[in-house]
Structure formats: structure tokens, C-alpha cells
Amino acid sequence: MVSNNSNKQSKQSAVQLFLKSLQIVEEYGSLIAFMIMIILVNLAIFLRITINFESSSWEEIARFSSIWMYMLAIAVASQEDSHLRAGFLEKYIHSDKKKYLLEIIFKVIMIICIFIFIWWSIEQIKWVFETKQKSLVLLIDMWLVYLAFVVGGFFALIHTIYSLYYYSQKYLQSFEEVIR
């Protein structure tokens, strides 16, 4: 019994550690991408105004950074479970048990949607890889940019699955409370 409990605890702490490291990657990754965007755009303006120097390569890097930033930001929003919603059904549900059940259904739908999105992204990367697409200015391999869709989507999927687990636990706990 004791060994079962300690196994369960060590598994839980491993999951927590994994999620924490994922969170660090997402937050710092999106922060770095965002900073690159801000710095490059300002530098481009400064050089254009002062020494009349223009280059489209900076704009390309800023655009590709922005795509990575958007995708990691989606993972951050999933981790915080802060996706926008405008529902009213919840206001008319007073029982916690029913609220958790509704949330479980929503999470399952979200997981299916994110999974399809990742599937499409993988198909696209395969195609870009096969056709050896490169960017127009800096000739960067385009699969590196499209990879953002898979990575961001995958991170968002992990967080949503964890969120589903969390609400399932809550739902089961509410049952146990009723039995007690």
C-alpha cells in the first residue's frame, strides 16, 4: 500500500516536472521571439531614418519569429486555460459535478480539434520537406518555420490533456464526496 502510494507520488512529481519544463520552454521561447520582433523592427526603422539603409532580410526574420511567437503563445494560453469563451450555460448550472462534466466534454472536443490541427501541420511539413521549400530572402528551410505549428499545437495538446485529467479527478472527487 505504502509502496503504491509512493509510486503514484513519484509519477505525479515527474509529470509536474515535465509540465514545468514545458512551461519554461514556452514562456522563454515566446518571450525571445517577441523581443526579436520588437528589436528588429525598431532597428530597421532607426537605420532607415538615419543612414537610409533598408533590408528585407530583417523583416523576414521578424515575420518568422512572429509565427513562432504566436504558436508558443497558443501553448501558453492552453497552459493557463485562458482560451476566450462566451458561454451562458455555466451560469445556469449550479452543481459542481455537472460543471466538471461539462468541462470534461469541452476538453475532449478541444483535444480532437487540436489533434486535427497538428495532423494537418505534420502533413504540410512533410510536403514542404519533400519539395525543399526555402524562404525568399534568406533562403531559410521553410520546414523550420512550419515546425512552429506542430510544436505549438503539440504543447497545447499536452496542456489540454492534463487539464482533462485535472477535471476528471475533480469530477471523481465530487462523486466520492456525495457517497461519503
Partner: protein, 432 residues
């Protein structure tokens, strides 16, 4: 089945999903999957449809304006704006109400979002309005309505999306709502004056003093310069709207860290994290709407809709009124960004057939969606103002309706039937 009918059914499904509270990105994703299945489309166009639009320099402006608004609010700028405007117009009857209206418009010139204006200005001015005898439910209603000005006075986030989708100049779209925004400020000011004169016992504020004005300018001068630098740079042709956003971020960092010293790294990272989270929420929705928008184009749905509506009536006035009613209903059911992304591509050909220019269309859509944010069930501005004002929506909605009926609706009709109100300013500034 008729393509338009299929589209109609999916829009009903979308509204149902939004209504039950499913996160918006999933509502749009399900609609998108259903449409792909019903129209028998391949899926290899989906990610390129998203990529082409995300890989755009214009779209980068959204996080830039969100973060600069956040940084300026964190630097205590909203209080400085309120003090400055109060020192000029605070003395007139219902002066603080008018200060709230103008401050929301001024803050809109920094952030481009009504939510940010409500939260920043509301926190700064509502306690003061309490002291001068304004009932909290009235001041909260005024805050909810004035928040719309944050979206009408440039920059405006929904109008960046409109410009991107329809290929219209973002700077021109922003200018299209300036005159309607100013008219709305004046009408709101008059309604506020009448309300304060007849209904409430409001204490008078001390008279205008030049010294007080100088102090407020001295204290808040750098924050008041923000719109001058950003919008001035954009409209003088020095930089594009996206570059303006990036300059705004740099300026906000400079002012917050070095000049006012009210920002520190902790506050800075907290604002950045909030911006990233907001960006993630918005862009996941945008991605699926971009696919839906591509399905519209592939199936020629906007053209079919235009033809069907034109068959209903040949009277331009009736059609425009019908479109406005439809847009108001959509605004009641969706948030501003989603409804802009759905309506702009869908109605673009119809507006063109009616002889409405894209710039005027931008203004019509912006005012409709702003008004939709004040009308339940999806009334973002009401809920946000209720949170800031700490009073339930039911307690102030009757005041909101007065502003809506006597302010928003007349301005909407004016913009719909007098094109010059929206196209004159872009014409003289950008297309001389």
C-alpha cells in the same frame, strides 16, 4: 443542398457552440471541419491558408499595440491622462463624466482595444467620480459605453484585421472611424450633461486653473506624447502601422523605465506574459477563421450571398438597414475580432455591389461591432466594466441603453448613409 443554406446552418451551429460556452477556437474549428466535410474539400489548403496570413508584417501590429498599452497603463499613464483632461474640462457640469469619455478616447489612441481602455481609465477615475456624487452604476455604464472609443480612435485592432483580409490600407481604415468617434464623444458628452443636470446631485469641481494645467502637462507630458509620436509617425509616412506599434513599445519602455521609473523588470515581464497569453487566445481563433474565410472564397459564398440579398430588394437603403440589423445581431453573439473576421470577407462583395467603399465598410463594421460589445448576451464591454466598477450588469444596463439608443445607433446610421463622414479624412490625409 444549396451552398448558402449549408453555410447558414453552420453559422447557426457556430452560434449554438458559442452559446454553450465552448472555447471560441474550438467553436470555429468544429464549424471549419464541418464545412470542409460538407463541401467535400481536401484539407491541404488549410495550413497554407493560415500561413499566408500569419506570415504578414501587418498582423505583427496587434501584439505591439497590446503590449504598449499594457506598459503605459503599468507606468501610471492612465491617471496622468485623466488628470490632464480633468484640468481642462473638469469644471463643466458633469465634467468628470466627460473626462471619462475623453480619457477613454485618448487611451484608445495608445492601445487600440476597448477592454484595455475600460480597465485602465476605469480604475483611475471611478473612485474620484464616487467622491463627487456620481452613482456607481451610472459611472460604470458610462465607462462601458466609452470603452468603445478605445476601438474607434486609431489604432484599432479589429480594423488591422479588416485591412489584412480585404487588402485595404490599415492607416485608411483607422482614419475612417475618427470623425464618427469624435461625433460619438460629443453626443455622449451631451447625454452625460443632461443626465447629470437632471438626475444626480453632483458636487462642483474647483474652477479652471492654468497652474493646475501646467502641473498636469509637466507630470504627464511624456505619456501624452505617445499618440503624437506613434500616430504622427504613421500618418506623416515615416513608418507603417506595424512599425508604429514597435516604436510605441520602445517608447513605452523608455518612458516607464527611465523617465517615470515606475516600471521594473517584474512588472515588465508580467505585462509581456499577459500580452503573450492574449496573443495566443486571439491567434488560435484567427487561424480557424482564416480557414473558414478561405472556404467562403473557394465556394464563392460571398458572391452568392451578395446576389441573393440583391434579389431580395433593389432599394439600397433597405438593404443597408438589413445589413446593419444583421451585423448588430452578430455583434450580440460574437466578440469583435471573431465577427470582424467572419463578416469582412463574407460581406465585402455585397458592400461593393451597393457602392460602399472598403473604407466606409470598415467604419460601418467597427461601429456595429463596438455596439455589439454593449449588447447581451456577448457584451464584453458590459462585463469588463462591471468587473472594474464592482457592480452587477443588471444595475447599470438601463443607463447603457440610453447611450446606445441616443448615441451609437444615430452615429451608425449617419456613417451608413453619409459616406463622407468616414472617407473624407482618409482622403485628405492619405490620398491627397
Amino acid at each position: 443542398m444549396n451552398s448558402l443554406l449549408i453555410m447558414g446552418l453552420y453559422i447557426l451551429l457556430l452560434i449554438f457552440l458559442i452559446f454553450i460556452g465552448l472555447p471560441l477556437f474550438a467553436c470555429f474549428a468544429i464549424t471549419c471541419f464541418g464545412m470542409i466535410y460538407s463541401f467535400g474539400l481536401r484539407t491541404d489548403f488549410t495550413i497554407p491558408a493560415i500561413f499566408v496570413n500569419l506570415n504578414s508584417f501587418t498582423l505583427m501590429a496587434i501584439p505591439f499595440f497590446v503590449i504598449s498599452g499594457g506598459l503605459m497603463a503599468e507606468s501610471g499613464m492612465s491617471k496622468m491622462i485623466v488628470n490632464f483632461i480633468n484640468s481642462i474640462i473638469g469644471k463643466i457640469k458633469g465634467g468628470l463624466g466627460f473626462v471619462l469619455i475623453v480619457s477613454c478616447g485618448f487611451f484608445g489612441a495608445i492601445t487600440g482595444s476597448s477592454g484595455a481602455a475600460i480597465s485602465a481609465i476605469g480604475t483611475a477615475i471611478l473612485p474620484e467620480m464616487d467622491q463627487y456624487g456620481y452613482p456607481r452604476n451610472y459611472s460604470t455604464a458610462l465607462l462601458a459605453c466609452s470603452g468603445l472609443l478605445g476601438q474607434l480612435i486609431p489604432p484599432s485592432i479589429p480594423l488591422i484585421l479588416f485591412g489584412m483580409i480585404t487588402g485595404t490600407s490599415v492607416a485608411a481604415c483607422w482614419l475612417s472611424t475618427v470623425i464618427p468617434g469624435i461625433i460619438l464623444i460629443i453626443i455622449y458628452g451631451i447625454i452625460n450633461y443632461v443626465q447629470c443636470k437632471n438626475n444626480f446631485q453632483i458636487k462642483d469641481i474647483e474652477g479652471f486653473s492654468f497652474g493646475k494645467l501646467l502641473i498636469s502637462v509637466k507630470k504627464g507630458g511624456f505619456s501624452l506624447l505617445f499618440p503624437v509620436i506613434v500616430l504622427g509617425g504613421i500618418y506623416s509616412g515615416l513608418f507603417t502601422p506595424t512599425e508604429g506599434g514597435a516604436v510605441g513599445v520602445a517608447y513605452a519602455i523608455l518612458v516607464g523605465f527611465i523617465i517615470y521609473r515606475s516600471l521594473n523588470l517584474k512588472k515588465f515581464f508580467s505585462v509581456v506574459k499577459d500580452t503573450i497569453s492574449i496573443t495566443g487566445c486571439i491567434y488560435f481563433i484567427i487561424m480557424f477563421i482564416l480557414i473558414i474565410s478561405r472556404i467562403f472564397t473557394l465556394e464563392r459564398l460571398p458572391m452568392m450571398l451578395a446576389e441573393a440579398v440583391m434579389r431580395l430588394s433593389s432599394n439600397r437603403v433597405i438593404i443597408l438597414l438589413l445589413i446593419n440589423i444583421m451585423l448588430l445581431i452578430i455583434g450580440m453573439l460574437m466578440d469583435d475580432i471573431s465577427s470582424m473576421l467572419i463578416c469582412a470577407p463574407l460581406l465585402f462583395p455585397l458592400f461593393q455591389q451597393l457602392g460602399v467603399t472598403p473604407i466606409q465598410m470598415a467604419a460601418i463594421l467597427a461601429i456595429n461591432q463596438g455596439t455589439g460589445m454593449l449588447t447581451p448576451p456577448v457584451a464584453t464591454n458590459l462585463f469588463m466594466a462591471s468587473r472594474v466598477g464592482k457592480v452587477p450588469v443588471a444595475s447599470f444596463i438601463r443607463y447603457t441603453m440610453i447611450y446606445l439608443i441616443f448615441g451609437n445607433i444615430p452615429v451608425l446610421l449617419l456613417v451608413t448613409f453619409i459616406p463622407q463622414l468616414s472617407i473624407w479624412l482618409p482622403k485628405i490625409i492619405l490620398y491627397r
